[in-house]
Symmetry: C2
Subunit: 513 residues, 2 copies
């Protein structure tokens, strides 16, 4: 449970002082007294964090940092360098070399511990990401990385407009990207998703140290820490990179506070634009990695429920969905819920004819149909698998066109499809089934390597049901109901097959027709 910290310092006293402080804060501590020993220990122990002197006798700082940063085992371990020089150029060199932060001796204990916590917390999420990356790369989504290579958008927020503009001007000497200056009000106002900054630099107002009223008739929260809390509470910016720059009274203490409140980076001392640029680049790169990862996980999950050939939902997804439909939880009233909105895009391409909603609001009629391609084996055997696949794909497209936004279209077997209508009328469902059967009969199927167009028909079993007490409330999935619907549709399908195929047979609530 305790974080593992590796201390690398050639001076025994320094190591001991740090060790005592860290052990008291319940960290596990390992030590090394030279750069080489430290690199070796880092690879062997894989600590959660490295705390090192910037002046090690056996290696120059840049070579030392490079050795850690380029080795797979140590590349992503956060590094805090401790130096006795107040010199900004030296600090910058360490940051550019790969240190995550540089503390100047005598370091402020509160800030040191807050920085450690912050780095551990952030590395924690990176690690969680690392775990997933393996799988998501396996899911084949890794190629889209350059989709994130748009120029970065950076927002500067300072106590005065002039100050913000001055920083903008100075930052532009050291980095590219769209840098904008925003008022507090503008930061928290509505923004087009594509305009939302990747990173925020919040310059603290040294005159506004202690809490002031957060609001008034004409202004929003007015200092960096409040703004930080607001940004973290909002959907669009909760994963943004936020750097807080503080100066004046208690700046180091407030920087420590900012870190504990979720800033990705906080600076509590005089700082040059170039250093802000270095820190910004690092935070933006980190944010994009995590954005990419989140997108990959979403696609990975999506890939697990989509049939790759037709793009329809697969059986694994369809069955629980059907259980939700039979339970009534998926009535049109609840469909605006986020859960129902998810993954809609994959279904909603092409025109979407909506269902006629049930007229009688006191009950809900719903329907499930199973489609099976007639003599599919003949297509596969006669024209090859590629032809068979082309037919499946085309039928998938027809089905998608027939499915309304609340309907569920899925491929549930090799040549078997499902279309569920959660809110319809018996008439509308029958008509839709007949139209579907006709449309496929009239569709011209062109298959690769096959000269003449193929003639394809389907048999459809349609099960109708009625829910006399539809509940808009949340309901448990109704597995038995779903199973029963499927069985009835299956019976009807069997009946359609044995009556000569290329037709619809309907099974109403009580009796199979």
């Amino acid at each position: 449970m305790p974080g593992k910290v590796l201390i690398i310092d050639d001076i025994a006293t320094n190591r001991i002082v740090l060790k005592v402080k860290l052990a008291a804060a319940c960290y596990q501590v390992a030590q090394a007294s030279t750069a080489r020993e430290g690199i070796h220990a880092a690879r062997a122990l894989e600590p959660d964090l490295i705390l090192c002197s910037a002046q090690l006798p056996d290696m120059a700082p840049d070579a030392f940092l490079r050795a850690l940063r380029t080795h797979a085992c140590t590349a992503s371990i956060p590094i805090v360098a401790i130096t006795s020089h107040r010199d900004a150029t030296r600090r910058l060199a360490l940051l550019e070399g790969g240190a995550d932060d540089v503390l100047v001796k005598p370091w402020e204990e509160h800030l040191l511990l807050a920085r450690l916590r912050s780095l551990l917390r952030q590395n924690e999420s990176a690690l969680e990401g690392h775990l997933r990356e393996d799988v998501t790369r396996a899911l084949g989504m890794a190629e889209g990385r350059d989709a994130f290579d748009h120029p970065s958008r950076i927002a500067l927020i300072a106590p005065t407009k002039e100050e913000a503009l001055r920083w903008k001007d100075r930052l532009l000497d050291h980095m590219t990207g769209r840098i904008m200056t925003l008022s507090t009000k503008a930061v928290l106002s509505d923004m087009a998703p594509e305009a939302i900054p990747d990173a925020y630099v919040l310059f603290g107002d040294s005159a506004a140290l202690r809490r002031r009223p957060e609001t008034g008739p004409d202004r929003g929260p007015d200092n960096a820490l409040h703004l930080l809390a607001d940004l973290r509470a909002r959907h669009e910016t909760r994963n943004s990179a936020i750097i807080v720059v503080l100066s004046g009274e208690n700046a180091q203490d407030r920087a420590a506070d900012a870190l504990d409140r979720g800033a990705n980076d906080a600076i509590g001392q005089a700082v040059k634009p170039r250093e802000i640029a270095v820190r910004l680049r690092r935070q933006i790169a980190r944010k994009r990695r995590l954005d990419k990862l989140r997108a990959d996980v979403a696609s990975g999950l999506k890939a697990a429920v989509i049939d790759p050939l037709t793009g329809l939902y697969n059986r694994r997804y369809a069955l629980p969905r059907l259980a939700a439909i039979t339970s009534g939880a998926y009535s049109s009233e609840t469909s605006p819920l986020p859960s129902a909105r998810f993954l809609q895009n994959s279904q909603q391409t092409g025109k979407v004819p909506r269902n006629a909603p049930s007229k009688n609001k006191n009950r809900r009629d719903y329907a499930v149909m199973i489609l099976d391609i007639d003599h599919f084996k003949l297509i596969n055997d006669g024209f090859g698998h590629a032809a068979g696949d082309a037919v499946l794909e085309r039928i998938g497209n027809v089905l998608r066109e027939f499915a309304g936004p609340d309907d569920l279209a899925a491929r549930i077997g090799g040549e078997e499809f499902l279309l569920a209508l959660p809110d319809t009328t018996p008439q509308a469902a029958r008509q839709k089934a007949r139209q579907l059967c006709e449309t496929i009969r009239e569709t011209v199927f062109i298959a690769p390597g096959v000269k003449q167009p193929l003639q394809v028909t389907v048999s459809i079993g349609l099960a109708l049901a009625s829910d006399p007490h539809p509940r808009p409330h949340m309901a448990e999935p109704d597995w038995r109901g779903a199973q029963a619907m499927l069985e009835r549709a299956d019976q009807a399908l069997y009946s359609a097959k044995s009556h000569g195929r290329n037709q619809v047979i309907v099974c109403t609530e009580r009796s199979a027709a």
Copy 2:
């Protein structure tokens, strides 16, 4: 971008005051003046948060809360009730009825806004969860819910041991679960994973308000806010439910601070044990929902890369993995990386004969073999698919037994398997391939519905390669190298088939043998 807040209050002045405050803090505000109107607006607008008077003229508070809590559209919207009664029983009734917090008029503005931020932030993650739940339920993992139904573990941390014990005693009157009292030191020390509490209640020390040295020779951080930051920075507790209870000087202000620093709940006033119990139950339920969801997402991702029949990796996973192996990124030196540890369990069942590591440390030899079951179609056609599946499953088990912890075993086609050895010798790889071929020949295959045991053989194509400059550094996946290895193994396999099957053919770096 701004959070949408619905204000429900029958007194116009109250609504206006709240609206002004919230608009100044850049929230979007909607209003309703009766309970019924409010419920209707909540369903229609789906606000991010509801701020309501606890005394609405047209409906009793419990009926009003129930109406919101039981409807799918509004069930998970955070609700803050505002009352003018300081009465603890009334507050408790509101919390038990479903309010997330109760503020007493005149409410402290800072606390109100911090509470809003906290609820928005937490609902945000619940929402993200909601989005995924749909998919993960579809992945069929929803049934395991009761795995999380162990009694909850709750840790109480108070300034003195006596105080902690007193709270424990009083809490046990109102809830079940394992309640333990912990010192700060014990909280941050190593703990067995199964002993880690679900929830922490941190009782603030009113005497330790302003910052004290965080550490000393014999103690850790000593007040609630520091402990909160530490818990959030640690792997095992970053998702724990944390409730901070503060009293004394500036308690409300500090409660607001605790919320902004990531507490799930914070109380800045005198509080009864029963209220803590209500809040604890809610936070623990929330934590378990999210734990379940995280587990589901992990299983969902895993399901996407595992072949359900054999439990081996599927083709989708195997190819990028092979590209990592040929690039050298998957040498045994880097395998202790988290990325390589992930999903190991699925491979490591049964005994795991380790590869003989390459003797010559200056180069790395690796090997890829493709196995194809001989005359598999005859098994399927002659004995049915169930028999074919049983054979595939059994061969999957054999392969798993042959795969060392760094090796990759996968099913890459209907009857085609892959075994990649990232670090081996040509001798060891040849021997392993031959043993594999022999083992399968000698295995007794029992298939369902088939009386006599089946005789099954495989043909194996083995490709050997050598990496003269192995880099332990991180490398880009080597897609071309992987493709080339597969092609060579495929050629060798073809050769094995055409030479009479049931044998191994080796393709060395330059020439096919």
